[in-house]
């Protein structure tokens, strides 16, 4: 008889273990994105394994930088296929965790009864295979070099989530714990290895902070909230990587096979972890093997199986929809054999969505909202090529940047921050340098090394040290030696270029009334009240690294700022014009207008 017991594999425990291991591997990879970036693997390995990276680069005509990796990634797509979604995807694991929370709420009686069988509910709302259609739109957009795809890639999302949400959040309490321990133990030898490991990998010697993360938090909340509506909604209807996996599922030797003597008892439907017993929806939770007592479900190739009907030949039962309301049984049968199966991908829908992508392109452009970039909007080193067309380089950067956030994670000083819409909607969450938070270290080129697409070019250190990010401008209404009788020189001290881009000259403070210092408490022996050491910038030497802005002792907005172009009207009267070093103090009180 066919009622023999199945092998006692606890698929659920096994799957969860693999998921945990996969997430841990990702966390190890993520935590190694710190200086000095000495890893046994490529620092951008994760995205070299993401087939979407290569597909996007190919379609957008930017070329695949590593053909070998492209082949590996595409090969994996066929080998791992849908198994990735259920067992390896970090976003999938996160969604399962949310599901777990939802289950817990249910146990506590906070969320009422179990909802009606999901397939019946969602069937009428969204077209099956929606993710494939959406992928068609996104790929058309990619061919037109519109990077919308990258808002939806689960790998990109995971990396960004770890970088700008999870690590800063986890680090708060961890840091408090560490500090309380460290204050007591820092002289103990046994404490040092733990302390150094924590500092090196977790905080990278500073607690990571990111500005403007609210929008990303809302995005995350929406994405995770979908899980409360339906299990793995994201994975089945939106995820572009899931869509690729759905497509390769058809060619995969291991797949869910139901023997033709299935009685449609729906037991498998009840246990299905992801609520997706239709072909291509299966995420390999394997829990239905156990549930099917007669053992009619197998994931191994061979043997007879319930075959989907060929397109255009609907089953007799579903041919008369008006006669009877769809029962769960009939829906199940239809999903195994009818139009909801992946074979049911509608060519017409595919074309429609592809066309929608083409239509969306000009619209996205129209509503992109990209105007001229703010003057203090600084891109990572090498993005704007020396002597190149800045607008063209910015365009190229937007097309190439996949917004994975690896550069922000790796940035030595935490200065690389996610942009909002300063560079347009398509520039959302691309990296920008906010010098007041962290400068671009002269002897560091890590961001280029971790960038998987070459949006930030890989530059050798000497080459990187000549990249110009912007130019420093001095606000003489704030700069200390201009408005007080005191010297400062902090910016000049820190200026990293061999021939200092910031130079000092001795002059009377233009905004300090002559003779006012006589009666002050300044020690006349050490500070000369008549003149002060005042900084000026040689724009031919300045590379705009921003360390001057970072260290400027003036409170609030620094008195020296790195800008990409001469400041606009708000600053004209207070910033010193480029390159001019006013010789006469008298003239300085009347800045250029």
């Amino acid at each position: 008889m066919s009622t023999k017991r199945r092998r006692g594999v606890n698929w659920k425990a096994l799957r969860i273990s693999v998921q945990v291991l996969a997430v841990l591997a990702l966390v190890v990879y993520f935590l190694h994105l710190v200086y000095p970036l000495k890893t046994a693997w490529r620092p951008d390995l994760l995205f070299q394994l993401d087939p979407l990276t290569h597909i996007y680069l190919l379609l957008s005509g930017h070329g695949v930088p590593h053909w070998a990796w492209a082949l590996v990634a595409l090969g994996l797509l066929f080998v791992v296929s849908r198994i990735f979604c259920g067992w390896l995807c970090p976003l999938g694991a996160l969604l399962d965790l949310v599901s777990g929370v939802r289950g817990g709420l249910k146990l506590l009686g906070l969320r009422g009864k179990r909802p009606a069988p999901q397939p019946l509910r969602h069937r009428s709302l969204l077209p099956a295979n929606l993710d494939v259609y959406l992928l068609a739109s996104l790929l058309v957009l990619a061919a037109l070099r519109q990077p919308l795809l990258w808002l939806l890639d689960p790998i990109v999302f995971s990396m960004k989530f770890l970088t700008i949400v999870l690590l800063p959040v986890v680090d708060g309490p961890l840091r408090a714990l560490y500090d309380s321990l460290d204050a007591k133990l820092y002289m103990q030898d046994w404490w040092h290895p733990a302390s150094d490991a924590y500092q090196r990998f977790f905080t990278a010697y500073q607690s990571p902070t990111y500005a403007d993360t609210t929008l990303f938090l809302l995005f995350t909340a929406a994405l995770l909230g979908l899980e409360f509506w339906q299990k793995r909604f994201w994975c089945r209807y939106i995820c572009p990587l899931g869509a690729l996996n759905r497509l390769t599922y058809m060619l995969h030797p291991l797949k869910r096979r139901v023997r033709p003597d299935c009685t449609f008892c729906l037991k498998c439907e009840e246990v299905c972890h992801f609520g997706g017993t239709a072909e291509g929806d299966c995420l390999y939770c394997m829990e239905c093997i156990e549930a099917c007592a007669p053992g009619r479900i197998s994931f191994l190739p061979g043997g007879p199986r319930l075959k989907p009907a060929r397109r255009g030949k609907p089953q007799e039962e579903t041919a008369s929809p008006a006669a009877q309301p769809a029962s769960a049984k009939s829906v199940y049968r239809e999903r195994l054999t009818g139009e909801l199966a992946p074979q049911g991908i509608s060519r017409r829908m595919l074309l429609e969505y592809a066309a929608a992508g083409a239509v969306a392109f000009p619209l996205l452009r129209l509503f992109d909202g990209r105007t001229e970039l703010p003057a203090d909007f600084i891109r990572p080193p090498g993005v704007y090529r020396l002597g190149g067309d800045m607008a063209a380089d910015e365009g190229r950067f937007i097309e190439l940047c996949i917004k994975c956030g690896q550069c922000m994670k790796t940035c030595l000083t935490n200065g690389l921050q996610p942009a909002l819409t300063e560079a347009g909607l398509s520039g959302l969450w691309t990296p920008r340098l906010i010098s007041r938070l962290g400068y671009c270290e002269y002897s560091c080129n890590l961001c280029g090394q971790v960038c998987p697409t070459g949006a930030i070019p890989k530059l050798a250190l000497p080459e990187k040290q000549h990249q110009v990010l912007g130019t420093a401008y001095i606000n003489r209404d704030k700069c200390i030696p201009f408005i007080t009788p005191h010297n400062c020189t902090v910016c000049e001290e820190h200026c990293p270029t061999g021939n200092k881009a910031i130079k000092m000259r001795q002059a009377a403070p233009p905004f300090w009334p002559a003779g006012a210092a006589e009666g002050s408490e300044v020690d006349a022996a050490t500070v000369k009240p008549a003149t002060t050491l005042q900084p000026y910038v040689d724009p031919a030497l300045c590379i705009g690294c921003g360390i001057c802005e970072k260290v400027c002792p003036v409170q609030g907005i620094a008195a020296i700022r790195v800008l990409r172009k001469p400041p606009g009207d708000a600053y004209t009267t207070v910033y010193e014009p480029q390159g001019t070093a006013p010789e006469q103090e008298g003239a300085a009180s009347e800045p250029e207008g």
């Binding site: 030595l412 001290e493 500070v527």
Partner: protein, 310 residues
């Protein structure tokens, strides 16, 4: 007319006073401070100038000239070394203390039986890059010593002491307070604001709000010298930076002088250090202030010190 009771009271007071003084002497901070105060009339072996091709040997020789490391570090003590690791510069750029000088200090301290040797510095560039480029990180790795990255919560309020004129208090790093021995291992460099940076200015690496002190730099440095007493001061002048200090970056800005100056009083070491640059100590604001406070002898020619070759 003395009675017995009064006599006993005076006797007890005297004994108590002697006991307190004895305890105070054993307290490391106070002991160091008292030692420093005494150096205004520096003895011959409180200051030394050693020249030689090898910075490591120079340092060892300088310590020998001062009476050996045993004079400063006793067995079982915790040593904190404050080198200048402030800049992401290579040794040939003369931005940081020479790694071999630092190594010599670590080795000597370990030889003296120090319980622990910890290096620290509040750097201007990122600490990791500074450690790597300066070569100090590699040297530290070969020893049992350890570099402590500044913990932003590790600052301790330290009040001004008698004689300070500008600072009321400042935040110093906990290793200054908690170590038995503080070794100030500076490099001699030009400095755009205070002319020269040597052992006195190096103390800026031990405090938190350094940048905010630049507006009264000379007064602040003079106060810091009083507030952060060092057990031993070593001035690395293997390469001295002549221009574009303190960070420079241009190899052409420095000069090979192959010298190590060591002493007990940081300001006195600096006075001797000014002669490397052919400058007058009077021209250095903070040295002038310290001389006004009768803390140092400002004339290098009148300064008793030993000279040796290694």
């Amino acid at each position: 007319m003395d009675d017995r009771r009064g006599f006993l009271r005076r006797l007890l007071l005297a004994l108590g006073g002697a006991g307190l003084a004895g305890m105070a002497e054993r307290m490391p901070g106070v002991g160091r401070l008292a030692g420093l105060r005494g150096t205004a009339e520096a003895a011959q072996n409180d200051l030394t100038w050693v020249q030689g091709a090898d910075p490591y040997k120079n340092t060892v020789k300088a310590l020998a000239e001062l009476g050996g490391i045993g004079r400063f570090v006793r067995s079982g003590q915790r040593v904190a070394i404050l080198p200048n690791i402030g800049w992401a510069r290579k040794p040939e750029q003369a931005g940081c203390t020479h790694p071999r000088v630092v190594r010599a200090l670590i080795d000597e301290c370990e030889k003296a039986g120090a319980k622990s040797v910890t290096l620290f510095c509040n750097p201007c560039n990122d600490a990791r890059v500074c450690l790597d480029l300066s070569g100090i990180g590699a040297e530290v790795e070969q020893t049992k010593a350890r570099f402590e990255f500044i913990n932003p919560q590790g600052w301790v309020q330290r009040r001004a002491v008698q004689g300070c004129t500008h600072l009321k208090s400042t935040q110093v790093y906990r290793l200054v307070t908690d170590s038995d021995v503080l070794i100030n291992a500076a490099i001699a460099k030009h400095h755009g604001l205070c002319e020269l940076t040597m052992c006195c200015k190096n103390l800026m690496g031990a405090i938190k709000d350094r940048v905010q002190l630049h507006q009264y730099i000379h007064e602040s440095i003079a106060d810091l010298v009083l507030m952060i007493p060092s057990t031993l001061c070593v001035l690395d002048a293997t390469r001295i930076l002549l221009r574009n200090g303190p960070s420079s970056g241009d190899v052409g800005d420095n000069m090979l002088t192959n010298t190590v100056i060591a002493g007990l009083n940081p300001a006195q070491v600096d006075v001797l250090g000014t002669t490397l640059f052919n400058k007058k100590p009077q021209a250095i604001g903070y040295l002038k202030i310290l001389a006004q406070r009768n803390y140092i002898v400002l004339d290098p020619t009148k300064l008793p010190h030993s000279r040796a070759r290694a």
